[in-house]
């Protein structure tokens, strides 16, 4: 039988580092039932034994919860049947022992059976501070273990000391007044003073404050934009070769299948339906992995909370806060991990608004679409296209800001509306842990979002293959997708486009970038891939409605760009939104609202163009 232990601690206490050492790679994220937040559960690293499991809870400053993360920790401690009697491991940062002792007192009052693990002992040494933990343990009546997060020293002693028996004492929910806090602080101060010996104390914040003199000054904005640009540019630099490799690999597999079984529907289904759908999922994995690695590096170094603090005031003007910064930033790569990153936002209102505007950020899937449409507008003008490209990024931020400002008028400020960002010491990033966590998050994306993309991609492919004509795929116009396009043509017409572009727009609901390849199919471009874009542009220039008027005008193309900027077409994003917000209603409302605004805007742009120019 496996014994469950719950890790509890304040943010930045070193809890997750201990958890990673305890579990090795044997952990998975678990959604708290009915909640938007996950906690992580893992079995003990096999080199330490086999019969222990650990739960890593979100960081909490107190047992009286004030944010969604803290509510999950409280539920793990009090409500979850698997964990509400489990022995707890309270992780305390040794450098801030006095402050964190209030949590010790709260745990005792709540009748929670626990041990204490003191982390960052190396910093205590650096600070010339000696604490008699044996005396402290005796005085408060709780076992204390010292653990070094860099070397894992102390972990064996902790594991062998963990109790097997479960305390049956019922846990009490506590409620503290200011006087309770004041009394706890005095008790903690006396207790810590009694067991602490300091000689020539060194300010361990010295180096951190020196760096902050730069990073948190006006120049800090220059560093901030530099670091962020580097982060995103490197996403494309580093991931491109891997994405190309994945694409080439799947292309090779598809070609082999079709070559081995020509004329076989099953082989075509496998190569163009299944294999191509897998490729559509996996081609973005390198980018997502590098994004998580980059964010993990910045977080582990201690810079990310500072970036959030720096950008807090400008974001407040938009009705958001500094904690929304990282998710919005991630939205430029992919909305899926960006939505996951909103878990760190304590304010429900900020989290709601941030989640709403994330899909409006110009994610990487929009790039091929922008590329095609901008080439149509500015043929042979690469420099201008580059500037317009950058402009679209800023424009999506601007649209996000406008949407946020509108939403703040409707969403009341929530009670948990506070910032108070603790600024941890700058530390050497723990590469091993960063890699492990990035891999785990990427795996989570693939396993959860992947099936949805594959399902829709296969569905669309089948829609284009049926009904069969003499056992062959029909003309696209006669296929189910084509028929749907014809039925919906009156809807697309006000945007200035015909059923073929409509099919492209429908297919983009599997993945936005599918729009370009669908356009190539519906406009019957037969050239090799490198020539495809050129031929497609030529056909787009010549494409006409039945009455002879051109389909692709500046108005309709600008409308299409606006549509793609605002529309929520990515079903993976919708699925992730449902999971993260815990609300189907919110996710579907967002889908409807964003698509209606996108459609309305595209129609408006096209109609204004027709009125003014034509």
């Amino acid at each position: 039988m496996s014994h469950v232990y719950v890790l509890v601690g304040q943010p930045n206490s070193g809890k997750t580092t201990l958890y990673n050492w305890l579990t090795g790679s044997n952990y998975k994220t678990v959604n708290y039932p009915g909640s938007t937040i996950e906690y992580s559960m893992g079995s003990i690293d096999l080199k330490h034994g086999t019969n222990k499991s650990f739960v890593d809870t979100p960081g909490t400053y107190s047992l009286i919860p004030k944010s969604p993360d803290e509510i999950v920790t409280s539920k793990v401690l009090y409500e979850n049947e698997q964990t509400n009697k489990a022995h707890c491991i309270l992780v305390i940062d040794g450098v801030h022992l006095e402050r964190q002792m209030t949590l010790v007192l709260q745990m005792k009052q709540a009748n929670i059976d626990f041990s204490i693990v003191v982390t960052m002992a190396d910093l205590l040494k650096e600070q010339n501070t000696q604490i008699d933990f044996a005396a402290l343990s005796k005085s408060i009546g709780v076992p204390i273990y010292v653990f070094n997060g860099q070397t894992s020293e102390g972990i064996d002693k902790l594991i062998s000391g963990l109790p097997i028996a479960i305390s049956e004492k019922p846990r009490k929910k506590i409620s503290w007044t200011y006087l309770d806090f004041q009394r706890a602080r005095i008790d903690a101060m006396e207790e810590v003073d009694r067991v602490t010996r300091k000689s020539n104390t060194k300010d361990i914040y010295g180096f951190t404050k020196k760096l902050d003199a730069w990073f948190l000054s006006k120049l800090g904005f220059v560093f901030f934009f530099g670091i962020m640009t580097l982060l995103f540019a490197s996403l494309f630099w580093f991931s491109a070769p891997f994405s190309d490799l994945i694409e080439a690999g799947f292309g090779y597999i598809s070609a082999q299948i079709e070559a081995a079984y020509p004329e076989s529907f099953l082989a075509t289904f496998l190569s163009q339906g299944i294999v191509a759908s897998f490729a559509a999922v996996l081609v973005f994995v390198p980018q997502i992995l590098f994004l998580f690695l980059g964010l993990g590096f910045l977080e582990s170094s201690g810079y990310l909370p500072r970036a959030a603090a720096l950008i807090d005031h400008p974001l407040q003007k938009m009705g958001l806060g500094g904690r929304s910064f990282v998710p919005i930033l991630s939205g430029f790569a992919c909305a899926v991990p960006a939505l996951m990153a909103t878990r760190n936002i304590s304010s429900k209102r900020d989290r709601f608004i941030t989640s709403f505007i994330i899909p409006m950020m110009s994610c990487s899937a929009r790039l091929p679409v922008y590329g095609l449409l901008l080439l149509f507008l500015f043929p042979d003008n690469a420099i201008l296209i580059g500037f317009v490209f950058a402009g679209l990024y800023f424009l999506s931020l601007l649209f996000g800001a406008v949407a946020s400002m509108i939403l703040t008028k409707f969403v009341k400020p929530s009670k948990d509306q506070f910032f108070m960002m603790e600024l941890p010491l700058y530390r050497r990033p723990r590469i091993r842990i960063i890699i492990k966590q990035a891999l785990s998050k990427t795996k989570s994306y693939v396993t959860r979002a992947g099936p949805i993309i594959i399902f829709f991609a296969v569905l669309l492919w089948l829609g284009a293959q049926f009904p069969r004509v003499n056992s062959q795929a029909p003309e696209l116009a006669d296929s189910y997708i084509g028929q749907l396009g014809h039925v919906m043509e009156p809807v697309f017409k006000p945007m200035g486009v015909d059923w073929r572009v409509g099919v492209g727009l429908i297919s983009a609901f599997a993945a936005r970038e599918v729009f370009v390849s669908t356009m190539a199919v519906v406009f019957k471009v037969t050239a090799e891939e490198d020539q495809q874009e050129h031929d497609l542009l030529q056909i787009m220039n010549e494409a006409k409605f039945a009455d002879g008027t051109p389909i692709f005008t500046v108005g309709s193309v600008l409308g299409l760009i606006f549509f793609f900027m605002i529309a929520l077409q990515c079903m993976t994003t919708v699925a992730t939104q449902i999971r993260e917000s815990g609300s189907q209603k919110f996710a579907w409302t967002q889908l409807i609202v964003l698509n209606l605004v996108a459609y309305g805007g595209a129609v408006l742009i096209n109609q204004i163009y027709r009125l003014v120019v034509l």
């Binding site: 602080r185 902050d212 006006k218």
Partner: protein, 72 residues
């Protein structure tokens, strides 16, 4: 009261607000109590958060959060 940077202040009182009591409660959680010595390190550019430190914490506080600390 004008605040000087890199100077030690004592928290005389933590002011409560009916509008958002959570701010005061969170300040208690972070270890801010009456009588505590803190250093106001700086204020971030363009009216951003205040940076406050004590032996227990190094934290960025929004103006409305910082104003809850009555300092002497």
């Amino acid at each position: 009261m004008s605040i000087e940077f890199n100077r030690t202040y004592k928290i005389q009182k933590i002011l409560k607000s009916d509008q958002n009591a959570e701010i005061t409660d969170r300040l208690y959680d972070l270890g801010f109590v009456e009588g505590l010595d803190i250093i106001v390190e700086k204020r971030m550019p363009f009216g951003g958060p205040w940076i406050v430190s004590s032996p227990m914490i190094y934290v960025a506080l929004r103006d409305e959060e910082f104003k809850r600390l009555e300092l002497v």
